[in-house]
């Protein structure tokens, strides 16, 4: 009996959103204020539209690949000596990025509520969850992501509660004024949108009737709306100077949320972000596993997953302080962003070359 689940485009739209929205969400208003100055929130939709071009390119490559693995295509055209270092670079970048995202999240959790609890306990729990998700396969991962989406999406509504303290005066009539650094700021926004590039690895697991470009685009637009909305509220809720001074403006904003039986639920809401972190970390580990499988062909899949997860858990011991984690996140997200541009172009070139070769053979015949 066919046990394959029939997913729809919306499942992958949700996956895109869950992959993109992460911890940066909590610092985004500060980053926008620091790099784009007054009304910096306006830069988010602008950069998002620019990024759409890259998404269309990625979708085009996925379509051209016709649900075949991009790594199999690379295998066909490159000798081991050349491709293995590339694979190790890809797997390393994605795995370390996933690990640093988890470390970043738990560093904030530790700062908020558990200053005396060692981080390795949290990281260990994350490793165990990630292991079981990875072992359940791609179907389980996508299904889990959709459930996590529904379990976290309500947290957005908490932003509406602070609307009553929103002041248009705080927005000021200036646009992008003050000390600005557009290049660094653009990169910070791009970092916030990272995650969609993994679809190039996922594409071979996605049903043929799913329009990947549509799914990623819709998910990306949804993330853009969420980022823009929350950052806009933060710009109207805090003064510009406050935004520059507060480390995590969105968490601070949630501090004001009150319901009859509970108040200061920032901690509770931030805890729910664990699910998004789990999705991001698992996705990057998955991508790393896919690449490493091309090198270690005979190794059992579960063992490989165990090695990746354990390796990253141990790597987590090297990232303890906020500064260390931030440095690693910055370096590896830059690398991941580079991969998100280079890999699709490289695959396009490979496909074009092999098409030309096929045509030549046909002409010759």
């Amino acid at each position: 009996m066919n046990t394959k689940t029939n997913f729809s485009t919306i499942d992958f739209t949700i996956l895109t959103y869950m992959l993109q929205s992460g911890i940066t969400f909590f610092v985004l208003p500060r980053l926008m204020a620091e790099n784009f100055g007054y009304n910096g929130w306006l830069a988010i939709p602008v950069i998002s539209i620019v990024l759409l071009g890259q998404i269309i390119l990625l979708g085009h490559v996925c379509k051209k690949m016709k649900r075949t693995s991009p790594l199999d295509r690379i295998d066909k055209v490159m000798p081991k000596v050349l491709r293995y270092p590339i694979y190790i670079f890809l797997a390393g970048t994605w795995a370390v990025l996933g690990c640093s995202v988890g470390a970043n999240y738990f560093q904030i959790i530790q700062m908020m509520s558990f200053p005396n609890t060692p981080q390795y306990i949290f990281k260990g729990i994350l490793a165990v969850i990630a292991f079981f998700i990875l072992v359940s396969g791609f179907e389980g991962f996508v299904k889990g992501t959709t459930v996590f989406f529904f379990l976290t999406i309500w947290t957005l509504f908490s932003s509406f509660v602070v609307l009553k303290d929103f002041q248009f005066d705080q927005l000021t009539p200036f646009i992008f004024a003050g000390d600005t650094n557009f290049i660094n700021g653009s990169f910070e926004v791009l970092k916030a949108f990272l995650g969609f590039e993994l679809f190039i690895i996922f594409s071979s697991y996605i049903q043929k009737d799913i329009n990947i470009t549509k799914a990623i685009t819709l998910g990306h637009l949804f993330t853009t709306v969420v980022y823009t909305f929350v950052t806009f509220i933060a710009f109207g809720f805090f003064s510009f100077q406050q935004l520059l001074d507060i480390e995590y403006p969105v968490i601070q904003m949630l501090d004001y949320v009150k319901v009859p039986f509970l108040e200061r639920i920032d901690n509770l809401i931030f805890s729910f972000f664990l699910m998004k972190v789990v999705v991001t970390v698992t996705a990057y580990y998955w991508a790393a596993k896919e690449v490493l499988q091309q090198i270690f062909i005979n190794i059992n899949e579960s063992l490989l997953i165990f090695i990746i997860v354990t390796g990253n858990f141990l790597l987590g011991f090297m990232m303890e302080t906020a500064r260390e984690i931030e440095t690693v996140v910055n370096i590896f997200s830059k690398l991941a962003f580079g991969i998100s541009i280079v890999l699709p172009i490289f695959l396009l070139l490979i496909m074009k070359r092999s098409k030309n070769q096929t045509n030549e053979v046909k002409d010759h015949d």
């Binding site: 009996m1 997913f7 729990i125 996590f148 108040e263």
Partner: protein, 495 residues
């Protein structure tokens, strides 16, 4: 046990196996009166009847027969017949001629009367032991709607379904399960609606069961499930014919197990366990509100006590000032940390529930009063627990009973303990870790290979009409997608 005992036992087992094999081969051999009779030695309820006017014999279990009907319709006539007349009588179509010992034995244990005449064997079905009359189900009560419930006879249960679904497309296939019990299992489905692959898969699973006996649907479910180690039931069971019929019309398969008052519906989804027939018999707004209440109850059951533990252990800041002072006052005299306090109270509530369920109704009520009022109040007065925790624990317990499925309610009550422990160790993040694990587990479960958490994942927006809310009937024109039905439109069943 010494090695010699082991060797002796092994030898003995081998001999027993050999004997059993020989017996089996004899069973399938051509019919022998003495062999059949020997099979039933030491059976006090077994009857052998001889007749003075002819050479016939009747073998039967009186306890399995409708004796009145048997005496009136069969015995009275046979006692007056000679061999020739009896031969002609047994050739009638309601007698089935059997040629092997095995068929004769199986027929007799299933409630037929076996006749022997001149070396030939015949069976006539006379099954009719007295059973419970049709009554309302005690575990699935409704306020409005039909009040008849299934009984311990699969035949009667099938008739209750057929009475409601008067269609030739309602198919009923029979299989026998249990090496010893030989229990009958009926597969009911509506041809042209139900998915053939699901039916075939279920048949395959039933055929592959090698067990000595099956007596109850909820036991059978645990053998058939996709993930038997999961705490969540993956097939819904119901004691209500109206529910079974609605499942059939939704394209699902119904399994009726003999001697069980519950039937199994497959595939099932997690949300189905929160649905009650009352949702459909009420106006849709009322039905939807009650259903929403159940989902809220589910959240209260698993999270209320856990949140109390988390807040009082790690996150006092989330409690508003007005509530914080009374809470601190009530916890002042409690000598235990919140996690121990909560686990003690939850454990007591479970004790009361279990005691109430096992005792006769009147004593059960006394237990409720003693437990609820005396222990509850005394525990607070003695400084064993805070009164706010009593409120949390009692609300969680009541909320757990709002869930219509008793089996699901039990599962949810159990995972609640996990949440309390996680909250006591890691506070809010512990609770979220618990939710993540449970949610992911639910997302990956399947019911006969179909997603268990449908329509939430994979996301099917159309099917949300009957999940958290019960949409008006004019809006529910299509069958849900989970069963992968052949005919999606509810109004086009061919007759």
């Amino acid at each position: 046990m010494s090695i010699f005992d082991f060797w002796r036992n092994k030898k003995k087992t081998k001999e027993e196996d050999k004997e059993q094999k020989e017996k089996k081969s004899q069973d399938s051999e051509s019919l022998s009166f003495h062999h059949v009779l020997n099979n039933f030695d030491n059976c006090a309820d077994f009857n052998k009847r001889t007749f003075t006017s002819n050479d016939g014999f009747a073998l039967f279990f009186a306890s399995l027969l409708n004796t009145e009907e048997f005496e009136r319709d069969v015995i009275r006539s046979i006692t007056k017949m000679d061999n020739h007349q009896l031969r002609e009588y047994l050739a009638q179509e309601h007698f089935e001629e059997v040629t092997t010992n095995k068929d004769m034995i199986l027929g007799i244990v299933a409630g037929s009367v076996g006749f022997f005449l001149e070396g030939k064997g015949y069976l006539i079905e006379m099954y009719g032991p007295e059973g419970r009359s049709i009554e309302e189900s005690e575990t699935e009560t409704v306020i409005t709607g039909p009040h008849d419930g299934f009984v311990e006879s699969a035949g009667k249960n099938v008739s209750l379904i057929r009475k409601r679904v008067r269609s030739s497309h309602l198919k009923c296939e029979k299989m026998v399960v249990g090496e010893v019990s030989k229990s009958e299992v009926y597969f009911l489905y509506i041809k042209d609606i139900a998915n053939d692959q699901i039916i075939e898969e279920m048949k395959r699973r039933v055929e592959n069961i090698e067990t000595d006996g099956v007596f109850e649907a909820n036991t059978f479910v645990q053998i058939l499930e996709d993930s038997p180690n999961s705490v969540f039931p993956q097939f819904q069971t119901t004691e209500r014919p109206d529910v079974a019929c609605s499942k059939l019309l939704a394209g699902k398969l119904i399994l009726a197990v003999d001697s069980s008052p519950a039937v199994i519906s497959a595939p099932s989804s997690f949300v189905e366990f929160f649905q009650s027939p009352d949702d459909y018999y009420n106006r849709w707004v009322i039905g939807s509100s009650i259903r929403l209440l159940r989902f809220v109850s589910f959240i209260i059951t698993i999270l209320f006590t856990a949140l109390y533990v988390s807040a009082t252990t790690f996150h006092y800041e989330i409690i508003p000032d007005q509530l914080l002072i009374p809470l601190a006052e009530s916890r002042k005299a409690v000598p235990f940390p919140p996690i121990i306090e909560a686990l003690l109270m939850e454990f007591t509530i479970e004790l009361l529930r279990e005691a109430g369920a096992r005792l006769p109704t009147k004593v059960g009520q006394t237990i409720g009063i003693v437990g609820g009022i005396v222990i509850g109040q005394a525990a607070v007065a003695a400084g064993f627990t805070s009164d706010i925790l009593i409120i949390a624990v009692a609300t969680s317990a009541i909320a757990s009973f709002v869930i219509p499925s008793y089996i699901m309610s039990g599962s949810i009550r159990l995972i609640r303990f996990g949440f309390i422990i996680l909250a006591g160790i890691l506070g809010n993040i512990g609770i979220v870790i618990g939710i993540t694990v449970v949610a992911f587990h639910l997302a990956t479960l399947t019911s006969i290979n179909k997603p268990y958490l449908t329509p939430i994942t994979p996301l099917i927006l159309k099917d949300f009409k009957d999940v958290f809310l019960r949409a008006p009937y004019w809006a529910m024109t299509e069958r849900p997608n989970q069963a992968d039905v052949k005919n999606k439109i509810r109004t086009k069943v061919k007759e």
